[in-house]
Symmetry: C2
Subunit: 107 residues, 2 copies
């Protein structure tokens, strides 16, 4: 159940902001921290959490580290999420096909 840690990661607004910034492409830590209302070490800690959740990955580039979104964790999240999506669609379908057997709600 890796989607648990992934969801917990994305629950924090700052961490979500970091993750969203990676959507436009790979970036370094300093690049990600620039403009954020928190310190750079904070961003490092967030990236560590995101990496352990399988949401991002990194590769060294000289003295810097380039982070990018990892499809791995994203895929697990999507699979878990689709279960509810399918269930909701089926429930909605049942709701529509059932024309109030007893009693009207909008008389």
């Amino acid at each position: 159940m890796a989607y648990g840690s992934a969801l917990q990661c994305l629950s924090d607004p700052t961490r979500r902001e970091v993750f969203e910034r990676l959507r436009s492409g790979p970036k370094s830590v300093g690049e990600l921290a620039r403009g954020l209302p928190v310190s750079r070490p904070a961003v490092s800690q967030h990236l560590k959490a995101l990496k352990e959740a399988g949401l991002v990955n990194d590769e060294p580039d000289g003295a810097r580290r380039i982070y990018h979104i990892d499809p791995q964790g994203l895929g697990e999240l999507r699979r878990w999420f689709d279960q509810f999506w399918d269930a909701a669609l089926q429930a909605l379908k049942r709701e529509v096909e059932k024309p109030e057997p007893k009693g009207r709600k909008t008389p």
Copy 2:
């Protein structure tokens, strides 16, 4: 940005368990609390949070209240999530189509 509160809701394991139990169909509060390692008031508080996030809805049934999954919040979450999914697919596609223009990483 309603997906923010939705993600925060689903970050808690207990709240996630409640939400997952609703996947098999609408249930009452006591029914949801039965078997969970927390008290019934705790489940009530979780349901309140889930409702404010647009993830569940409820309707009275005598002295009970029946909760069910709300497609509303689920849809917003999915739209937000698909942005990353698409971005990840495009990035993966670029990665595959790019045969190392300069320098080999695995010589």
